[in-house]
């Protein structure tokens, strides 16, 4: 499977260095290594979800209980989480660090991923969620650290879009 183990490790190490101690996730191809790393790490609580919106509640609970968390999801999982983001995270000023695999961009071969790809950034903008991309391994650690810092300071959701060039090795 040509999902980059090396770049998944970079992302995982950056989360750890931000003191993230709980990760919620729903499996998708690009996230398999990240989820395995969380599962193999005795210092990390991995919560496997049935649907991504649960992760908003779990991260909100973790935040109020004093634990930093991150959410691993596909962009369709972000679409499935929007009510929770608005009526829990935004309404109650809860920080969320959302790592979203950005399917449906240039290079996408799966026809079923394409519609969600076109909706992802317009929806992030319309919800007022600050976001940045992760494409180049050299900026992964700094951008994750900055995203986490802004989420905690603003008590708001922030998103990082995991791009094809970072996650997939052709």
């Amino acid at each position: 499977m040509p999902v980059s183990v090396k770049h998944s490790q970079l992302i995982y190490d950056a989360l750890k260095s931000c003191d993230v101690r709980l990760v919620s996730a729903l499996p998708e191809t690009w996230l398999v290594h990240l989820i395995r790393m969380a599962e193999d790490d005795p210092e990390m609580v991995l919560v496997r979800l049935a649907k991504e919106e649960e992760g908003v509640g779990i991260s909100a609970g973790a935040h109020l209980a004093g634990v930093k968390s991150a959410m691993l999801m596909q962009n369709h999982g972000f679409l499935a989480s929007i009510n929770g983001i608005v009526s829990l995270a935004h309404l109650y000023h809860i920080p969320l660090l959302m790592l979203i695999s950005y399917r449906g961009e240039f290079g996408e071969r799966d026809p079923w991923q394409t519609q969600g790809g076109m909706s992802t950034e317009p929806l992030l903008r319309s919800l007022g969620i600050p976001y940045d991309r992760l494409d180049d391994p050299s900026h992964v650690a700094a951008r994750i650290n900055k995203a986490q810092t802004l989420a905690e300071a603003s008590l708001s959701p922030v998103a990082l879009l995991l791009g094809r060039d970072l996650m997939w090795e052709e």
Binding site: V47, G61, A62, A65, G66, Y92
Partner: protein, 190 residues
Amino acid sequence: MLRIEALQAIYPQLEECVVVTIMGAVSAELQSLGHRPNFFYLLHAMGLASSMGLGIALSRPELPVVVFDGDGSILMNLGSLTTMARYRPKNLLHVVFDNESLLSVGGFPPATATGSDIAGMAAAAGIPHTVTVHTLEAFTDAFSTARTAGELTTIVAKVEAKGPPLFLTDLPMLENRFQFQRHLRDMRAN
């Protein structure tokens, strides 16, 4: 059984618990019995109270966590039963008040009014202990037992479709949110 009678009966036991409630009647009735800083009322995001309770329980295994859920709310997030069951935190008690009515929006019948069995679904999802109770005495017994059982429990309490006249209280959402967070932090210090 009236929901407020059920809440009143176990209210003294909530002092040492972290409590998360759903919106509407459950939130208003618990507040009418006396707000405490360890109570968080999720006034929107229908369905996510159980997920929040799970997040707290997994983050702070030393704290007993109680979620007061409702039939309409858990039906919107049935997957949460499977996620709770997967991790089955010993410090989480999940109470579902089932009045077979979407009371706050005019009393429309949810699926529990036509036979769907939440305790049955919770058991099938893998929640280790599940029970449905119809009387105040049975509820009080089930709650006290679950508090000391040390195992994830879902109690479905069948209650009458009656609620308070008003759902608004004088506690602003954000005051509740920050007070609750600060209180949980202080519970760590103790």
